[in-house]
């Protein structure tokens, strides 16, 4: 998946499923998701489940750091740096 595709699906999901109030405009790739109040500790886990299922990767406990989820850019980097889980290479 291209960087743009990843960013687009993250933006869609965060806007429609994670944000507690639907934002006026979709967040820019460098918008501070947590500080800006779009992703809280509840939304974070919804988002992690989505990312794992959609991109067939496993997020490790120690990767749940503020820096990795601060912006859509940061999450995209996290996703791109990971190998697909075993048996999932053909998914999607």
């Amino acid at each position: 998946m291209s960087t743009q595709d990843i960013q687009r699906s993250l933006t869609d999901y965060i806007t429609t499923e994670v944000a507690s109030a639907v934002p006026d405009a979709p967040p820019a790739p460098d918008f501070p998701l947590i500080e800006g109040g779009l992703v809280d500790s509840l939304g974070l886990f919804k988002l992690i489940a989505f990312i794992e299922d959609k991109f067939q990767i496993g997020i490790l406990p120690e990767e749940i750091q503020f820096e990795n989820f601060a912006t859509i850019n940061a999450i995209t980097t996290l996703i791109k740096n990971k190998q697909p889980l075993r048996g999932a290479a053909k998914a999607g």
């Binding site: 507690s20 500080e35 809280d40 406990p61």
Partner: protein
């Protein structure tokens, strides 16, 4: 009583932790059995809820039922700490929804009934007597319905221990550690017709409660002890948190508990004035000790600990029910992930541990007084604080400032964030007007 012999998840205990976990799992489509020893409505202490709890209620879709009950809505807090009177209002943090003072028998009943309505199989007056945690395969739970002679079992994929201070699994596995750093105990009781403090800084008669919302009143009582005053719909909950050492010198005998409680209440400035018109509800005194504990382990093969069954810290920040709901949500999320991909169970359990331990260790470090050292908390723990919204961090800072422990929070956050959250959204009062 038709209790199934098999289930995806068995939950021990129907307090806020157990009921919320049952709701979250039932909503995800799992077969859940919840066993509760008592019959709701049942008495429980812990009546002051801070606004953050609504987000769990929204997720569980129980918000309307709680609003419909008409609990007392509080507007903020009035804290007298070492002689300084401070007041803060939730609306100054941008909270548009009220915090509540709840009769826990009613509140917990609503959450339990809601779990039932969402498809959880809830059985009351059923006591869990043992668990079998064979690491090899399925786990099971042994229970005894009230009035029956022989116990039965349920096999399941996961057990959630939400048994509160009974801490069934924690005791069985001897993984509960009493908190030497926090040697306190608590004594509390109920009064009719107590005055209360509103946001105008004045004392009001109990009869005005419906028209003029109250604040939660808290006062220090020396040596890090403190007291609470929580007006409910019919009565007012009043409690003392007392250093154990002081208790030893007071040489409290059981039969004198009520007299001790009333004498101390009459000695505490402002609290005694609030209680002047009040009458004590006979026989309503309760006591809890030892007080604070935490686990060496939060989950293991086939089980999770949540709410007070995992850890209990001083309630000065009113975080108990919030932590119960947080850990219930976390356990339901983790079990869902584990059941979807069993190969990653170890990862997910590690994640649960990290998140939940981070939460209560933050709570614990914030609580510490002259007795402990918040600096011992490691960076991974402080990390969990950073996922809180700015508003939540600010509220925590103010609550801690008012209770004389703001420096604990400042030690945990990154230097750059200190200035941002250290906004003092409170006002200092010269006196409370009676």
């Amino acid at each position: 009583m038709n209790i199934p012999a098999q289930s995806d998840v068995v939950i021990i205990g129907g307090g806020p932790a157990g009921s919320m976990a049952a709701t979250f799992l039932a909503q995800k489509g799992y077969h859940v059995v919840l066993l509760e020893k008592q019959k709701h409505p049942r008495y429980m202490v812990g009546e002051s809820l801070i606004p953050q709890f609504w987000k769990y209620c929204d997720l569980a879709q129980v918000t309307d039922k709680i609003l419909a009950e008409g609990f007392v809505q509080k507007q903020g807090g009035t804290v007298v700490w070492d002689g300084v009177i401070r007041q803060t209002a939730f609306k100054d943090f941008g909270y548009t929804r009220p915090a509540l003072h709840v009769e826990r028998d009613r509140f917990d009943l609503i959450l339990l009934e809601h779990a039932r309505s969402q498809g959880a199989h809830v059985f009351e007056q059923v006591t869990v007597t043992d668990v079998n945690l064979d690491p090899g395969g399925q786990v099971d739970v042994t229970y005894l319905p009230a009035g029956e002679q022989s116990s039965r079992r349920i096999a399941c994929r996961f057990i959630i221990d939400a048994s509160g201070q009974s801490a069934l699994i924690g005791r069985k596995l001897a993984i509960r550690v009493h908190d030497e750093e926090y040697p306190f105990m608590s004594v509390w009781g109920y009064f009719n017709n107590s005055s209360y403090v509103a946001l105008d800084g004045r004392a009001h008669a109990f009869t005005e409660l419906r028209d003029t919302p109250p604040t939660t009143f808290v006062s220090s009582t020396g040596n890090w002890g403190w007291c609470w005053h929580i007006p409910l719909r019919e009565t007012t909950s009043v409690g003392l948190v007392v250093p154990l050492e002081q208790m030893k010198t007071d040489k409290l005998e059981n039969e004198a508990l009520q007299a001790y409680f009333l004498r101390r209440c009459a000695e505490i400035p402002y609290l005694n004035r609030l209680l002047e018109p009040a009458t004590y509800c006979d026989g309503s005194v309760h006591m809890l000790r030892p007080y604070s504990y935490r686990p060496k382990q939060l989950c293991g093969p086939g089980f999770f600990l949540i709410g007070d069954a995992a850890a209990f810290i001083d309630p000065v920040l009113s975080e108990g029910c919030l932590l119960a709901m947080f850990s219930a949500h976390m356990a339901a999320w983790t079990i869902d992930r584990c059941l979807r991909d069993q190969g990653r169970t170890a990862d997910y359990q590690a994640l649960f541990t990290r998140q939940f331990a981070g939460r209560y260790q933050v709570g614990h470090a914030l609580m510490l007084t002259g007795y402990g050292d918040a600096a011992k908390v490691n960076g991974a723990v402080a990390n969990s604080l950073r996922f809180d919204s700015e508003r939540e961090q600010e509220l925590m800072y103010v609550a801690l400032t008012m209770a004389g422990r703001a420096e604990n929070l400042l030690r945990l956050v990154k230097p750059g964030d200190r200035q941002r959250i250290a906004v003092n959204r409170f006002r200092t009062l010269q006196s409370i007007d009676f």
